[in-house]
C-alpha cells in the first residue's frame, strides 16, 4: 500500500507544513498544526531542496554537488519515502 517515489517525481511541501531554520535548536524544523519535527542535519539538507520545481533526481544531484564523494542516492530516496508517508511532502497528481 505504501507509494514508492521515483526519481522523476517532483515533491512539494504541502501548504499545511512549513520548513524553517530555528537558530535556538540549530536545526531545520517542519511545523504543522500544533506540532513540529526537528530534522537531523542531513534531513534538513534534503528538505531545504524541496521547492516544488526540482525532481528527486535533481535534489540528489544538488546534494552530491554540495557533498562531493558521497553516494547519497539510496539514503535520499529512503528519507523522502518516509517523509511522504508522514505527509511532510506531497507529489502533485499522486
Amino acid at each position: 500500500m505504501a507509494v514508492r517515489l521515483v526519481s522523476a517525481d517532483v515533491p512539494v511541501i504541502p501548504a499545511r507544513c512549513r520548513l524553517q531554520w530555528e537558530a535556538a535548536q540549530q536545526a531545520y524544523v517542519i511545523l504543522y498544526p500544533e506540532g513540529m519535527v526537528k530534522l537531523s542535519a542531513s534531513a534538513g539538507e534534503i528538505m531545504k531542496r524541496i521547492d516544488g520545481r526540482a525532481s528527486i533526481a535533481e535534489v540528489i544531484r544538488s546534494l552530491e554537488q554540495a557533498f562531493p564523494g558521497a553516494d547519497l542516492r539510496a539514503d535520499v530516496i529512503e528519507f523522502l519515502n518516509a517523509a511522504y508517508a508522514r505527509g511532510w511532502i506531497e507529489v502533485p497528481g499522486r
Binding site: 535548536q25 504543522y32 500544533e34 513540529m36
Partner: protein
C-alpha cells in the same frame, strides 16, 4: 532535556500558549479554564502581548497557540497574529468559531495565520448546543466549510466524554464529510470545570472500548486522508501522561491577565507565586523564576517516582492532577498504579460504571459562566 534538575540545564521553550482572554460566549461543562476565572485581573493590553511574543520568540518558542476563553473576542487578534507571523511563529488559532465570519477568516489569513482549530461539542445540533449552552452547531458547520475554502489546514477538535462518546461514528462521519485533515478526539482531562463535572463526564469502560474500536475501523477505511488523534483519558491508564513533557521543559502559557505558567492549570497550585509578564522579561521567567524551576528535572520527586526507571519517560505525570487528587502537587500523579493514592482514580472510574449520569440536586451539571464562577470564587 535537563538531567540534574539544575536550572542552568533547562532547554529553550518551544511552545507558547497565549490565553488571550477568559471571556467566552460558550459555557462548556468541560472547560479547562480556572473555575474562579472571574476574579482574575484585567486583560493584558496589545502592547504587553507584543512584548511577550517578541521575548518568547527570542528564547526559541516557535509554536504559538492563541486560545482563551474565546480569542476572537479580542479585537486586536489580527494585530497579534501579524506580529507573530513576522517573528516566525507557526500560528494556531484555537476557537469555538463564535465571532468568526468570512471577512475575518480572510483578514486573519492575510495577517499570516497558519491554522484554525475549530471545536465541535458533538455531531448533533442538540448535544452540541446543550453542552456549550449555546446555539452554535449550524454556525460551526458553515465555518468549517469557509475555513477550508480559504486554504487553511482543516483541523477539527471534539472533546469526548460520557455524554457524546456513543456518537463517535457520527462524529467521524461528520469530519469526513467536512473534508478535515486532522481530527482530534480529545478525551476530557479532569481539570477546571471538567473536574467539577467529572461525575457527568467520566465514561464507562465499555463506551471507551466501543469508541476506540470505531476509530480503528474508521482509520482502516479512510486511510491517510484524515489523520485521527484519539487521546485516551488518563484515568483509564496505569501510567501517567508525560505532562507537558516535564515541567518547564518546552511549554509555557501566558494567561489573559498576564501570568506566566508552565502549563494550563498551574495557577491553582498552592505555594506558588507565578511571575507576571508586566514585571519580568520572558527570559528571567523561563530560566530564573522559582515557579518554573520548582518541578524541573527530577530532584523534587518523592517515592515511588524518585527511584523509578520510568521517571525519564513520564516525569512523574501531572503536578496539577496530583494536587487535585491528593492535595499535594509534589506527589506522584495518582493515575500511576504505583502511587499509594491510585485508589482515588480507580474509585472514580468504578463509580462511573453503573450510574445513569443524569444531573441531580446533589450532583448538578455546572456550566462555565460568570455567575457560577463568581459563586465558586467566593467558596
Amino acid at each position: 532535556m535537563q538531567e540534574d534538575g539544575s536550572k542552568s540545564r533547562a532547554g529553550s521553550p518551544l511552545w507558547l500558549l497565549a490565553e488571550l482572554t477568559y471571556r467566552c460566549p460558550l459555557h462548556c461543562v468541560f472547560c479547562s479554564n480556572p473555575v474562579d476565572y472571574i476574579r482574575h485581573g484585567a486583560e493584558l493590553p496589545t502592547a504587553a502581548w507584543l512584548k511577550v511574543l517578541r521575548e518568547a520568540r527570542e528564547l526559541g518558542a516557535v509554536q504559538l497557540g492563541f486560545s482563551g476563553g474565546e480569542p476572537l473576542t479580542r479585537e486586536d487578534l489580527e494585530t497579534l497574529v501579524g506580529q507573530a507571523h513576522t517573528l516566525g511563529y507557526y500560528t494556531n488559532l484555537i476557537t469555538s468559531g463564535v465571532g468568526l465570519d468570512e471577512g475575518r477568516i480572510a483578514r486573519l489569513r492575510e495577517a499570516g495565520l497558519d491554522h484554525i482549530q475549530l471545536s465541535f461539542q458533538d455531531s448533533t445540533r442538540e448535544l452540541n448546543d446543550f453542552l456549550s449552552h449555546t446555539r452554535t452547531f449550524d454556525l460551526k458547520l458553515n465555518l468549517a466549510r469557509l475555513i477550508k475554502r480559504h486554504g487553511y489546514p482543516m483541523v477539527l477538535n471534539v472533546v469526548l466524554h460520557r455524554q457524546n462518546l456513543d456518537h463517535i461514528e457520527q462524529i467521524l462521519d461528520m469530519a469526513e464529510r467536512l473534508g478535515v485533515e486532522y481530527l482530534e478526539l480529545a478525551n476530557t482531562q479532569y481539570y477546571g470545570w471538567a473536574f467539577l463535572n467529572r461525575h457527568h463526564l467520566l465514561p464507562t469502560r465499555e463506551q471507551l472500548r466501543r469508541a476506540e474500536e470505531a476509530t480503528r475501523r474508521f482509520r482502516e477505511r479512510a486511510g491517510s486522508s484524515v489523520k485521527v488523534y484519539f487521546v485516551v483519558p488518563d484515568y483509564f491508564e496505569r501510567r501517567p501522561k508525560p505532562c507537558m513533557n516535564g515541567w518547564g521543559s518546552v511549554f509555557m502559557v501566558v494567561t489573559a491577565d498576564g501570568i506566566a505558567l508552565p502549563c494550563h492549570q498551574a495557577r491553582m497550585l498552592p505555594g506558588f507565586e507565578f511571575p507576571r509578564v508586566a514585571e519580568h522579561d520572558m527570559r528571567w521567567i523561563w530560566y530564573e523564576s522559582p515557579a518554573f524551576n520548582r518541578f524541573r528535572g527530577f530532584d523534587w520527586m518523592r517515592e515511588p517516582c524518585r527511584t523509578c526507571a520510568e521517571r525519564f519517560k513520564d516525569f512523574g505525570g501531572c503536578r496539577c492532577q496530583a494536587f487535585l487528587l491528593t492535595g499535594d502537587p509534589a506527589d506522584t500523579d495518582p493515575v500511576c498504579d504505583l502511587s499509594p493514592e491510585h485508589y482515588r482514580v480507580a474509585e472514580a472510574v468504578e463509580r462511573a460504571q453503573g450510574h445513569s449520569g443524569g444531573a441531580t440536586a446533589e450532583r448538578p451539571l455546572t456550566f462555565r459562566d460568570d455567575r457560577n464562577s463568581r459563586e465558586l470564587s467566593s467558596r
